[in-house]
């Protein structure tokens, strides 16, 4: 999982982890967004580190969501790719469909990122409407009856 590098760095020195994060300019920028939820700010910061350092996404910025009172991230996968909204949330939190709709209303493709206490991250894509799943990949073989297959193998 992508959180492993962060975890290894953190466990090496007990005093350092909190300090370096608190001094990070982006973390301080997030704090200034006037979101009261410090746990969510920390979560957003972990996602920020994952997107910038591990996945090397471009133009990663943070913004406050007035309806949800959380920090959202906006980023592009590559230069010229469409911008995504990322909603970082701790995994034990609860979420309502209305909040999801608020984030979708921003008009950008949305990624929900669930962050566990060990910094494991998982991203889920959320889209408005009914998105047909990808069809199964061919080539397709007509297996017929199992008995026929066994007989063929025996010959």
């Amino acid at each position: 999982m992508s959180g492993a590098s962060d975890g290894a760095e953190g466990s090496a020195e007990k005093a350092a982890p909190a300090n370096w994060i608190l001094q990070h300019p982006t973390y301080q920028q997030m704090q200034q967004l006037q979101v009261e939820d410090s746990e969510q700010i920390y979560t957003a910061f972990l996602v920020y580190m994952d997107l910038t350092e591990v996945r090397r996404w471009k133009e990663v910025s943070c913004v406050r969501s007035p309806e949800l009172q959380v920090v959202l991230l906006e980023a592009r996968e590559k230069d010229g790719a469409p911008a995504h909204t990322v909603l970082p949330l701790p995994v034990h939190r609860r979420l309502s469909h209305r909040s999801v709709r608020h984030v979708l209303d921003r008009g950008l493709p949305m990624l929900l990122c669930a962050v566990a206490s060990d910094s494991t991250l998982v991203y889920q894509r959320m889209t408005d409407g009914l998105v047909t799943p990808d069809p199964p990949v061919g080539p397709f073989e007509d297996l017929g009856r199992r008995q026929h297959r066994k007989r063929r193998q025996q010959r």
């Binding site: 979420l95 469909h97 999801v100 990624l111 669930a114 998982v122 991203y123 959320m126 009914l130």
Partner: protein, 295 residues
């Protein structure tokens, strides 16, 4: 000039409604809506409702792949039919009278069958006798042998009795309803699954069901997939489901772990998970949940 067209329109509409959706008869077993009659099952399927077959087929028991009547309707399906005035509960039969009524009917039918079979058996014996007599005395012809033949046939007619033990009895394997089988009915009454206590959730489920059905999708229950409905682009016999619909109200909060759980399951079975919530002003909001592909 204006009155006749209005009247014609008024006359047309009920006719159109009647021809487009025949009324099906629901047999209510406690609160379970069941359909027993073949024409009802066909009507319901042709209007896009799938239901679930519950009954064992008499010739292929002890398996769950192919089941027979009755068809159990989802609560949403029943409600949709009732709202369209396409379903009505069949009158409940008086439990006490039914047993004796059936027995009487059976005995009358058996008596009728016995009389029919007696006549046929007598015919058989007569023709056998005729054959035996004409073949044995084939070359001989004349009034004497004819008289003897007539005499013997008459005697046969008078003395012949068809023994009751030789009666062929037809056992009907097609029965409509459980009215004769009191124990089975009681079982269904007791084990009917508990209805959801949550009525906002139930209302949300119904609104989503009606909206998706209106868009032409076929829906069945999704117990195996941890959702509310499985959404098929056409008849389930022809297609795999595309979506697992999870119905919630806009404001109820769900745990992130549950979202991840259902999303992961959906991606494992190649279906998109749909979070569905009806808005208070009418339209239903759908959010598709997919695996991001970001490992």
């Amino acid at each position: 000039m204006e009155a006749p067209p209005c009247r014609q329109l008024g006359e047309l509409q009920p006719e159109q409604e009647r021809s487009s959706s025949p009324v099906v008869g629901l047999s209510l077993c406690d609160s379970a809506p069941l359909l027993w009659r073949i024409q009802d099952l066909k009507a319901v399927r042709s209007s896009g409702l799938v239901g679930a077959l519950l009954g064992a087929l008499p010739r292929t028991p002890r398996q769950n792949i192919r089941l027979g009547r009755p068809l159990l309707l989802l609560p949403e399906e029943e409600r949709l039919l009732r709202e369209r005035h396409s379903a009505a509960a069949l009158p409940a039969r008086n439990q006490d009278a039914v047993g004796t009524e059936l027995q009487q009917r059976y005995e009358e039918e058996e008596q009728r069958s016995y009389e029919e079979q007696s006549i046929l058996a007598l015919e058989d014996r007569r023709s056998a006798l005729l054959r035996a007599m004409t073949s044995s005395s084939g070359s001989e012809s004349g009034v004497g042998s004819d008289e003897a033949l007539q005499g013997r046939l008459l005697a046969l007619g008078q003395s012949f009795t068809f023994p009751r033990s030789a009666l062929a009895v037809q056992l009907s394997t097609a029965r409509a309803g459980l009215s004769h089988c009191q124990e089975a009915r009681a079982f269904l009454q007791v084990d009917w699954p508990i209805r959801e206590q949550d009525s906002p959730r139930r209302e949300a489920r119904y609104q989503v069901f009606r909206d998706l059905r209106g868009r032409g999708f076929f829906l069945t229950s999704a117990g195996k997939f941890g959702g509310d409905f499985l959404v098929y682009p056409g008849d389930p016999l022809r297609f795999h489901a595309h979506f697992i619909a999870v119905c919630l109200t806009l404001d109820e909060s769900i745990c992130m772990l549950d979202v991840l759980c259902v999303a992961r399951l959906g991606s494992n079975v190649k279906k998109t998970v749909l979070l569905c919530s009806p808005a208070p002003d009418g339209p239903v909001h759908y959010t598709s949940l997919q695996w991001s592909g970001m490992v």
